[in-house]
Every structure is written in C-alpha cells, then in structure tokens.
C-alpha cells in the first residue's frame, strides 16, 4: 500500500509537470490552431537561459528568473513574427512542418551553444516547500510544480474569462474570420499567444530542469510527451491539459512500478491511440461539428 501511495504521489507530481509543459502548447493551439512541435525546445531554451544567467552572468536567482521569462516572451514573439505569420491561412501540413523545422533549428542552436551534456540547475527552492508527513514525502520540486501549475491555471482562467485580450483570443480560436470582421487584431493575438506560450514553456523548463537536470535531448523528448497529454485533455482546454498531464503521469508511474520500466515511455502513446479511436476530441475538448 505504501508503494502504491508513493507511486501515486510521484505520478501526480510528474503529471503536474507534464500539465504545466502542456499549458503553453494548448495556449498556442487555442488561439491559432498550430501544433507546436518545437515546444520541447522552448522548454529547454528557458532552462538553459536561466542556467546561463545564473551561473555565467551571476544574476541573483530572482532577477535571473524574471530575465529568463522576459527573454522567453520576446523569443516567442519573434518566432511568431518571422516564421509563423507568413503562414497564416496556409494548409496545415506546412504549419506543422514549419514547427518541425524550427525544432531542428532550435535544437541545433542549443546543442551548439550549451552542448549535449546533462547540466544541473542550482537548487534554490526554499526549505518550507519540502513536505514530509509520516510515510508521505513531497520533494520541494514537486511542490513548486504544483504551486506554479495551480497559479498559472488560475491566472489563465481569469485571463481568458475577464481580460479583453483573453476574450479576443477565444474569439480568434473560435472563428478567425468572424473575429477579423469584428475588428479583433488577430495578428496581435497570435503574437501575444506565442509570447505567453514561450514564457510558460520557459517556466516549466526551469522546473523540469530542477527535478532531473537539464539536457537538450531529455527536454525535447518531454516536448513530444505533451501530445498524449493534450489529446487526453482535449486540445483546447487548459485545465484539460493539467488533468491529462496528471492522468499520464500516474499511468507512467504505475506502469513503471508494476509492469516494466521500459514500457513506461510507450504507454502514453498506446493510450493516445485508443483514446483517439474512442473519443477523438479528448476528455474536455470541444466537439467540432462540420458542414460541407
């Protein structure tokens, strides 16, 4: 029973990280229907920029954190401006392939600058985050993931519900042409959503890096694991992303614990295929109705 509970807690904590990583992904999909294959590289970028700012430039943790988030935001903005904007209205395959190309470019760049070795981030989380009660122990990284996850969930919830920009984003996601004709600045919405997504990705990258150390290959692999998570939650639901992440995390932990560790990495994809066959629009996604 202890083993079960520990697996459950581990799974939930890792799941929160997956959910957090998936949030930025859903953000982009929600406003511009772009599947971002470069998401893992954005995660890695955030972690590496943070590492450099902290250990090379020697900024204090707080400032390094803020500077990283700003840098990620600007980068997301620039990616949208230079690469995605010319493709507005082009067929899906070009957009998907562009993000695949972008992923290769970013990965090459990251490896060129920081190399492929595993690096560790400084452990800066305060001690009160280490929760221990009897047999149950939640390490500070997991606690941070849960806190950040909940924080962003609430922030995004409020943002999409009440702020003007959030409502614009929802309108663009719902019907781009109608939004345009009503005077919504669609291009600004796209730029903003890429900026925010990159920011969230950078943030998740830092937390993922705290847990396992950062290496370009590992973090880009997490970028691919986002797919089962978002499909499970529904591609356009941010809270769905978190719940999908939790389910995938727990599933991975149990497969790794009870069945075999090697099956662990492939189980999310098996679930993905089955789910796509049974319920293509995910647990919380919008059911699209098509007309000829």
């Amino acid at each position: 029973m202890d083993f079960f509970i520990q697996l459950l807690v581990n799974g939930l904590s890792v799941g929160f990280l997956y959910g957090l990583s998936a949030m930025g992904f859903v953000m982009i999909f929600k406003s511009s229907s772009v599947l971002n294959f470069a998401h893992g590289e954005l995660l890695a970028l955030g972690a590496f920029v943070f590492l450099s700012l902290h250990s090379v430039v020697q900024l204090p943790i707080g400032w390094a954190f803020l500077a990283t988030l700003t840098a990620c935001f600007v980068l997301g903005f620039l990616i949208e401006r230079f690469f995605l904007r010319p493709l507005i209205g082009e067929p899906l395959i070009y957009v998907i392939m562009l993000t695949v190309g972008l992923a290769a470019m970013l990965r090459g760049l990251l490896l060129l600058i920081w190399g492929g070795n595993l690096r560790t981030l400084p452990d800066f989380l305060p001690a009160w985050m280490d929760i221990q009660s009897g047999w149950l122990r939640i390490p500070p990284v997991y606690m941070a993931a849960i806190l950040v996850g909940v924080l962003f969930l609430v922030l995004f919830g409020l943002f999409f519900k009440y702020s003007a920009q959030g409502i614009f984003m929802r309108s663009v996601a719902d019907n781009q042409r109608a939004a345009l004709s009503l005077g919504v600045h669609v291009r600004r919405v796209f730029a903003l959503s890429w900026g925010i997504a990159a920011l969230v990705a950078g943030m998740s990258g830092i937390i993922l890096g705290l847990m396992n150390g950062i290496s370009v290959h590992d973090l880009s692999a997490v970028g691919l694991k986002v797919f089962p998570v978002v499909i499970l939650g529904g591609l356009n639901s941010i809270s769905g992303a978190v719940i999908g992440g939790l389910i995938i995390g727990v599933l991975e932990a149990f497969t790794g614990g009870y069945l075999s560790p090697s099956l662990r990495d492939v189980v999310p994809y098996i679930v993905l295929v089955v789910l796509l066959l049974v319920r293509p629009y995910g647990l919380f996604g919008l059911v699209e109705i098509e007309r000829v």
Binding site: I93, M97, G101, G108, L235, D265, I270, L276, V292
Partner: protein
C-alpha cells in the same frame, strides 16, 4: 516514324486521353528514356565508390518518399510514422532472410506486403480522425513500432540487431555497390511507373478527391474509409520495399535508424520536393540526401581547422540547424517545392521570349 511534337504554347487538349497523358510531348518521353539509359549505362561506372553509395541511398529513399507522397500529397493525410514503416520493412526482410532463408526475390516483395499490413492497421484511426488528430495518431504509431522493434526480442533480437546474409538473384551474388545499384534502380523505375499510373486510375482520382474535400468525396459515393486505408497500405508498401532493400544493402539491421527524425526527413523530402508530385518526391530525396552529405562533409572539413577544434566547438549540431533551416526556408519561400521551381524554370524557357 511519326513527327515529334513540341509543347504548344497554350492548352490545346481535345480529348480526355490527351489530358491524362503522362508526357505532354514526345520530347518528354525521349528525354526520360535518354535519362534512364544514361542512368543505367553510365552512372555506375563513372562514379567513385562513395558517390555510388550516395546514389544508391538516394534510390532507396526515393522509393519510400514516393510512397509517402501518395499518402500525404495525394490523399492529404500527414503521417509522422513513415520512418517506422521503413523499419518494419527492413526488419521483415532481415528476419525472413536470416531466420527462414527466404530468397531475395521473394523476401523483398513479402516485406513490402507485411509493411502494407502494418500500415493498414495504423491507418485505422483515419476512419474517424483527420488533420491534426491523425498526425498525432501516426506519431503514436511511430513510437509504438519503435518500441516493438526494440523489445520483441524473440524476433528482432533487440538492440543486438540482425545480420542479413548476402543476397543472390538468379544465382548471381548481389554484393557490391554496382550490382546493388541495378537492383535498386530497377525497383525504383518500376515503382515510379506504378505510382504515376496509379494516380491516373479510379483509385488515384479517389485519393485526390479525398484530399481536396473528403466530405464532398463521400457525398459523391467514394467509400472514404476504405480508400484511406488503401492509401495507407500502398504508402507503407513502398516504405517496406525500400526498407527491405536498405536491409540487404546495409547488411546489418538495428532499430536506431528508424526513429522520429527519419520520419521527419521523409516528410521534409516530400515537402521540399513538392507535395502531390511523383517527380517531386525524387527531387526531394536527392535534395535531402545531398544536403545531409554536404553538411557532413562541411562539418568534417571544419573539424580539421585547428582553431575550431581548439575552441572546443562541436560542429555536429550545425547539421541539425542547417537541416531545420532548409525546411523552414522552403516552406516560407517555395512551399510547393522543387517540382514547382522546376516547372517555373521549364516554362520560362518554353515561353521565351513572350513570357505571358
């Protein structure tokens, strides 16, 4: 001998047979025959061994790329699992020849058929899904197949890999680049011929109808599910065939090459070459292989410069960067690929000096 016809300046087609003709003028037919003759008679003998190896690889990749183009370019379904299907073909051929001593002539088509079966299974989600969701389903297929290739140790011998015995065809041993060149390019020619003609049949037209508007196609009485599965089957058949040839050519088969980046390379070939163009798939295969080889050559060259080695820079990631950049630039500036570029060049010659 009848008079050779040149391309007229304008559209003067009078019958459906004209419209469906593969070669617009007799010059096209002559040129392709001359090209084939040059390819088969000259290339293997004048090219140095390494170049011949590269040419052979281009031939193998081109077969698989044509298959992917039938699925992506003609049927409009984006697959990120083509590299895995290629791997299934390679393993099928390797297992058949190493374990069961199946002869070359039988094992290659059989590997194609087995891969077609696997492809059809992974194509089943296309019954309900399309667009993004189908792409993600094929991505899952890629990972599942990769897992099975590594962990089904009874058949695939896991990470250890399989060594394929040297193939013989009609009693002639097929070792060496030159002999294999003939095998690969005979198969490639056959497969091009099949693909070009497939597109002109009712099946090909149904694929194109599904790509252009699947609901309208269904309304016109095309059973889209079975046609989509068929498209998956044909596409994987090509991938399996190419994989089988690859296995015999490479001698030893391990699961590493068949990862997601191979699938991405195939998609890149199809996009850079030109979606919905058989010739484009070949241009794409040539382009990507040439790009890979020249980047490898360039990074090797740069490794030799003392100051770069001393500065501790690792040049290998530069290849990945340049590969991504090539894809991005093509999509931004010529999304219809090399086939379209070639068409523009050709027609500017044809219409000169009155380019309108």
């Amino acid at each position: 001998m009848r008079k050779l016809r040149l391309h007229p300046c304008g559209n003067y087609k009078e019958s459906y047979t004209d419209e469906l003709a593969i070669f617009g003028s007799d010059y096209g037919r002559l040129w392709s025959l001359a090209g084939l003759a040059a390819l088969f008679c000259a290339v293997p003998f004048i090219s140095p061994p390494y170049l011949l190896y590269v040419v052979n690889m281009i031939g193998i990749y081109a077969i698989a790329a044509i298959g992917l183009n039938i699925l992506v370019g003609y049927t409009g379904m984006i697959s990120l699992g083509h590299g895995a299907f290629f791997g299934v073909g390679a393993y099928a051929a390797a297992v058949m020849s190493a374990t069961f001593n199946v002869p070359f002539l039988l094992s290659v088509p059989a590997a194609g058929l087995i891969t077609a079966g696997v492809g059809m299974i992974f194509g089943i989600p296309s019954g309900r899904l399309k667009g993004l969701y189908l792409t993600i389903a094929t991505l899952a297929g890629q990972f599942i197949i990769e897992y099975v290739l590594v962990h089904w140790e009874g058949v695939t011998r896991g990470t250890e890999g399989i060594t394929v015995p040297a193939p013989t065809l009609f009693g002639i041993s097929l070792q060496g680049d030159i002999r294999f060149f003939y095998v690969i390019f005979t198969v490639l020619t056959l497969m091009i011929w099949m693909a070009v003609n497939l597109i002109r049949t009712r099946y090909g037209r149904a694929f194109i109808a599904i790509r252009d508007n699947d609901r309208a196609a269904e309304g016109m009485g095309i059973p889209i599910f079975s046609y989509k599965i068929l498209s998956f089957g044909i596409s994987s058949f090509y991938a399996g065939l190419a994989g089988a040839l690859w296995a015999y050519y490479m001698v030893s088969v391990t699961s590493e090459p068949f990862n997601l980046s191979l699938s991405v390379e195939y998609i890149a070939m199809v996009i850079i070459g030109g979606l919905g163009s058989i010739a484009g798939s070949i241009y794409g295969a040539v382009f990507i292989t040439a790009l890979n080889e020249s980047l490898r050559w360039l990074t090797d060259l740069m490794m030799n410069f003392g100051f770069i080695t001393r500065s501790g820079l690792n040049m290998a990631p530069l290849r990945e960067f340049a590969f991504g950049l090539a894809i991005v630039l093509f999509i931004l500036f010529e999304p219809r690929g090399l086939a379209e570029l070639w068409r523009i060049i050709r027609s500017s010659f044809r219409l000169w000096p009155f380019s309108y």
